[in-house]
Symmetry: C2
């Protein structure tokens, strides 16, 4: 039987006046979350290279995997996640979050 | 060395007057694409179960993996993909697409 995986898809877009020098530590803070939060089962991220013109202002995707909704629910208020949210909040122009159960 | 994977993240939201009976064949048409298009290396999808209120009207995520931008570029105009786009287009209220190179 395959393990069920809960995918947490987070898309961000930054304000026009947010510089690359401000974005880099934000990226690194998210990248450091799996080391701080054991509930994260898998993690990947990257910047948009789509060609369809449908990114709706999002430039970053963080793709976080949990094993249960309980783990996701415990991740959201985790101090390390909340510190990340506080860091990125002033720079956010767009944010979209969709979670789904992988059934591939 | 890890294989580099190009993730193609597609989020949809449907119009209010689109019924579940209309959505189901749309889902199944997307699900059938990997059998019709060899360029698709991996595929999963699901409906939104997020709890943050940031889905921005999207209810579906399709997560398609390619091995190269050339494969992605050949997928987009593939007749089977174009037939899917024609099928969903009249029912779309929201669509967001972000591609990224996985570096996990």
């Amino acid at each position: 039987m395959m393990t069920k995986l809960l995918r947490h898809v987070v898309l961000f877009g930054f304000k026009d006046d947010t510089s690359p020098e401000q974005i880099e530590p934000i990226e690194q803070t998210f990248v450091a979350l799996p080391d701080k939060i054991d509930l994260i089962r898998d993690f990947e991220w990257g910047t948009d290279v789509s060609v369809e013109g449908l990114s709706q202002g999002h430039t970053h995707c963080f793709f976080v995997t949990f094993l249960s909704e309980a783990d996701r629910d415990a991740y959201l208020p985790h101090p390390a996640h909340k510190a990340f949210v506080e860091l990125i909040q002033p720079h956010l122009a767009q944010v979209t979050v969709v979670d789904y159960w992988a059934n591939s």
